[in-house]
């Protein structure tokens, strides 16, 4: 079953057309990566999928129903969003932040119920944030903070999880940790995950399908092996890449003017298996 259906979606910021006639469908339980160069409209697409923006034309359907027909509260039961680097103006603690996703379920006088508490404990456990749950968000590292926001999204208990560049400020270890965590929630809880990312290698490694967007408003959609090829990436990003494959795992290394061999002679045959 398709949990997200996008049909002929277009969007423009006053004069600049960002998305043109995009259509794709996401099966329930899929991990989709949205990749593409800066300005290709990845974040715009995410904002359209979360109803933060309204489309100029076309429709977004969630669970078979038009996204516009959901109330804010209903939609929050379907979709949780992790945005880039959100820092509140006040120093809320980790557990307060995660509990906030349950606001809609609070009882009288605005206090959480036992069920909310259980869900939050579970979300903290899954994201390995329990041990610093009483610390203030402002005193966490970027990787810790990102895990807290994922915990908050998980505690919202939705079938769909949208993430905007979840690993952009993180080092290699933390990038992998975040993707491992997402994969675990996909596998265990059957969540549908849509992540906007710049990291083609992580996308190729973890995601079931890829939406590759170009700055001209075109797109390619399909399974990772088909969409992410040397030719496609060179074309879309406007940079030469070295594409390789080790043990079924595709990888891509961008080559600049000053690459080791002058960026001229690299051939995919040169690779030595590790």
């Amino acid at each position: 079953m398709n949990i997200i259906e996008v049909q002929n979606l277009s969007f423009r910021y006053s004069k600049a057309e960002v998305l043109r006639n995009i259509s794709f469908e996401v099966k329930t339980g899929t991990f989709l990566a949205v990749v593409g160069p800066n300005g290709a409209g990845k974040s715009t697409l995410l904002n359209l999928l979360s109803a933060t923006l309204k489309p100029a034309a076309g429709t977004v359907k969630i669970d078979g129903k038009k996204i516009g027909s959901y109330s804010t509260k209903e939609l929050a039961g379907k979709i949780a969003v992790v945005r880039q680097e959100t820092i509140p103006i006040f120093g809320f603690s980790v557990i307060e932040t995660v509990m906030m996703s349950r606001t809609n379920h609070y009882g009288q006088l605005g206090f959480e119920k036992e069920a909310d508490r259980q869900i939050v404990i579970e979300a903290l456990k899954v994201t390995d944030t329990t041990r610093f749950s009483s610390r203030s968000l402002a005193n966490l590292s970027a990787g810790e903070r990102q895990r807290v926001f994922i915990a908050r999204a998980l505690a919202q208990d939705t079938p769909i999880l949208l993430l905007d560049e979840p690993t952009s400020f993180l080092d290699l270890k933390h990038q992998v940790e975040i993707y491992d965590l997402l994969k675990v929630t996909q596998n265990r809880q059957g969540k549908t995950i849509v992540a906007v990312t710049h990291d083609i290698n992580l996308a190729a490694q973890y995601c079931d399908s890829i939406l590759l967007m170009t700055s001209e408003g075109n797109f390619t959609y399909g399974i990772a092996e088909d969409v992410l090829s040397e030719k496609q990436i060179t074309e879309v990003f406007g940079v030469r890449v070295f594409a390789g494959k080790v043990k079924q795992q595709h990888f891509f290394i961008p080559l600049g003017k000053f690459a080791k061999d002058g960026g001229k002679t690299i051939d995919t045959q040169d690779q030595t298996p590790m």
Partner: protein
Amino acid sequence: MKQLLTKRKLIFQISLAFVALIVIMLACSLIGTQHISIKSVFAHSSASNSINPDYEIFMHVRLPRIILACIVGAALAGSGVVFQVLLRNPLADPYILGISSGAGLGSIIAVISGFSWTLWGRSPIAVFAFIGAIGTIWLVWFIGRLTGKSNVTGLLLAGVVVNAFFSAVIMLLISVTQSSKVYSTIFWLMGNISEEDIFVLWMGAGFIIAGTIALFYISPQLNAISFGIDDARSMGINTSRVQLVAFAIAALITSIAVCLSGLIGFVGLIVPHGVRLVFGPDHRQLLPLSSITGAIFLVIADTLARTIIAPAQLPVGVITAVVGGPFFLLLLIKSAHKTSWFNR
């Protein structure tokens, strides 16, 4: 889970703060040029028809004034909390969106027009200050909306521009009229707590208490809004409704406070910060505790204002600024030593 606020903890804190407020109100009502004691106030004189002067002073002079300080302090601190979160700006105070200049313009117009009626015990100056305050904040909200629904910067800039424009109009009016009454108006605007009749107090208190309770009911939503409008919306908060309700209530209770006592600075800025530093940013706790702390703060400040140079009196706004300014700087320096601004 013991790190989370519980209902029991909140009720305990509010009760404790409330008891502190009552004790301080009582204590302050005994201080003054005429020394009185609780005992003498409630002592029944043997001759039943004679008047107990201590009782008269307590009931008709000191207590009404202290109750006024209490409700005005609560209103300003409570709406300070709301403006800081709605504008996502720790430097916001209740007057930031033009209420001060609007109230000033209203009262100057009242003086120039020479009205001499009273409305529910309020002078034309106070009534026009109220209308000016409410009208201006509506105007700022309207202009802010034109720049975008969740555009906080637009709202703040609209406030700054309207403030500057109205201040210019005030200066213009003052320079062309040269009425001697203008100076008394300016003095009134500087913030004054004085004896009020019971009816005015009840009405003011009624609105301000009702407003604060209503704000308490949306405080979980205000917590979510601290993370920004988009984030709050994706957590299922109807942000436009919460913003509108919170904004309207905060503007109304601030304007009522202005109508009762002119412009008293610093209460709405420093009390929320002080309470946040001690108790954390959770609005379910921050809002009621700030209101009560604001009441305590203004009761004490007003007691100082009427006793320091007794029998003469200072405008209470002077005291709140003199005491509040350095205190605020202290908080600022203390919090700058932590990793982030206004992190608890």
